[in-house]
Amino acid sequence: MRFLLVGQPNCGKSTLFNQIAGYKAIESNFPGTTVSYTESKFMLNNEAISIIDLPGTYTILPHDYAERVTRNYIFENDFDVIMNVVDASTLSRGLELTLELLEMEKPMILVLNMIDSAEAKGIAIDEKLLSEILNIPVVKTIGNRGIGVEAALETAYNTACKGTVENSIRFRKDVEGSITEVMKCVKEFIFNKRFAAIKLLEKDDYIVKKIILCENTESILVGVRRKIEESHGINSAMIISYERHGLAMDIFERVAKFSKPKKNFTEIVDDILMHPIWGYFFLAIIVFAFFNLVFKLGQPVEGWLTAIFDDLSRYLQHYFPTSQFIGSIISGTVNGLSAGIGIALPYIFPFTVGLSFLEDIGYLPRIAFLVDAFMHKIGLHGKSIIPLITAYGCNVPAILSTRNMNNESDKFKTAFLATFVPCSARTIVIMGLVGYYLGGNMALLIYIIDIVVIAIMGKILTRVDKEPSPGLVIEIPSYHLPTIKSLSQKTWFRLKDFVYVAFPIIIVSSVILSIIDYFKLTNWINKMLSPITTFVLGLPQKVGVTLIFGIFRKELTLIMLNQALGTDKIATVMTKTQILVFTLFIVFYIPCVSTIAALKMELGTRKTIIISLTTIVVALIIAFSARIIGSFVY
């Protein structure tokens, strides 16, 4: 049997899912890179059940990528029962989705979640009456404490066994009249004809394409739409939404009893964290503390890991010397593993945990609120800040997460700008070169220059791509203490992009680098690149090859620079200006191979090439300017 978890964003659906997956799972299937739902299997009444956690959606008429995933899943897959999860504290809005799902007349139960926070808001719900009105079972749960989960699953199981349900909820008379007329035009549909008629009035192209109409009925359809639009004065697509809204409000008022709410925790905290002045002060502190913690904690761990892999590589060299072809392949593989794990474990992992924590607790949408005004100045809106912050850990998950942006233009701009964000690998280079030889303030300056460049690029992009951004509309959920389970799931969800996309590429490219080394192509590459390295940037010719390494893995430039120059005391062979110029070039020029792969997945080849070429131009301009300015300063 297959259970679907469907609900609006922030209804606690995933927490509920994790409770189920946690204590009963016999197998948990984590999402791949193309789908973003989670599946888990468990045993109930001696039967194998798979439960699917679909992304949160406000309606089945989708506005963004995640919502499309949910709608398409419902229409393209078989299932036995829908567990519609609703946040009891925002029941009136949640019921709109419930009513829409009921129209499908599929077995369904309502899971009234987070009843504790509803009670704190002074809302008590009569679930028996609600069940009577909707004609489906209603179960109360408190997801994060696991209360009611068992009962919800049992109820869902029993409902699935009973088969289809009848939906007796009706809109106002004239709307129902139009629906009945449209129903006559419907020949075939995977769901009932009334549902097809409603979707024809709602004009969702995706669903409309799945409806087979009787011959020569197009004109009837157009006529019905026109008639009802005239009498209501709004688009027929909106009429149905208003009908559901009205019904939902009526039902809510019948089943809910109100008492005086407690001054809730969220409001008290938001008085500080969303304050027009203090809000920004705390934002700066939180972000600064977050980055410091991650990279300060990461450094010693990276040291240990590199030491372990160095030992391993020395040990292997004993048996397979790099002078042999096979030996160089093996050493490339080990170096790749070392680099992947050496970046992922100490930096990307804690960064991702921290980011997931900020998301789970509810702080990320608040950042979007705080920075929206600034983001507008560079042609984006608050929602884009989340991929941009993610990019400081690793660009790959950042770019893949831009699929959640509401339109193509926002997606392109956000992904473009994300490639300029110095990820953990680039941070290693900045710290190891500028931070080490020129001091912490200069390193900080690089980050500031980077933000300025992002702002300027944002401005330029809005000039080129004139499509106005649809703007910010985002729900600000109450603060919630994250559970370990949901934290680990979110962390994995972001980390898997690194594991599946970036990690294999890192290993393969390491092998390629070994082969370059084996065939002694280094000198040739250095000569080829000398117009850029020596003529434009004024760097030693020997650094040329490190730029190639940097395309594969940015942090390698640091190690390879030591190797190329034959010393780990860079300051003895490069001037301060040269170190600065080199680092700036590394930070901006061409995204790493893994990032390019991610760009190609999300935006296609053409846009990926545009972005990659632009970054080279930007890097040349910035690094050349640094060379000129540096020659005056130092």
Binding site: N235, D372, H376, G382, P468, P470, E475, I476
Partner: protein, 76 residues
């Protein structure tokens, strides 16, 4: 008096009277509960012409300034 949500004041309640925008805009905004006829309360405003924080039937939604110009309201 008719005005847009952008002119709304913190702590006051307003009734939505018109949503001036295309179908996508209307769908997006009503999905968050901002229907014509609904009474909303302004909870907060971000500085520098940032978004408004609106309480709609006890769910809190951040609405960007450029969107608030399209939402016409009257004081309750």
């Amino acid at each position: 008096m008719l005005k847009t949500l952008s002119d709304a004041e913190i702590g006051r309640e307003y009734r939505v009277v018109q949503l001036r925008g295309g179908l996508n805009f209307q769908r997006r905004i009503t999905a968050m509960g901002l229907y014509v006829g609904e009474v909303v309360k302004i909870v907060r405003k971000a500085p520098f012409k940032g978004p408004l924080l609106v309480d709609i039937n006890s769910s809190i939604v951040a609405v960007g300034r450029n969107i608030t110009f399209k939402i016409f309201v009257e004081e309750v």
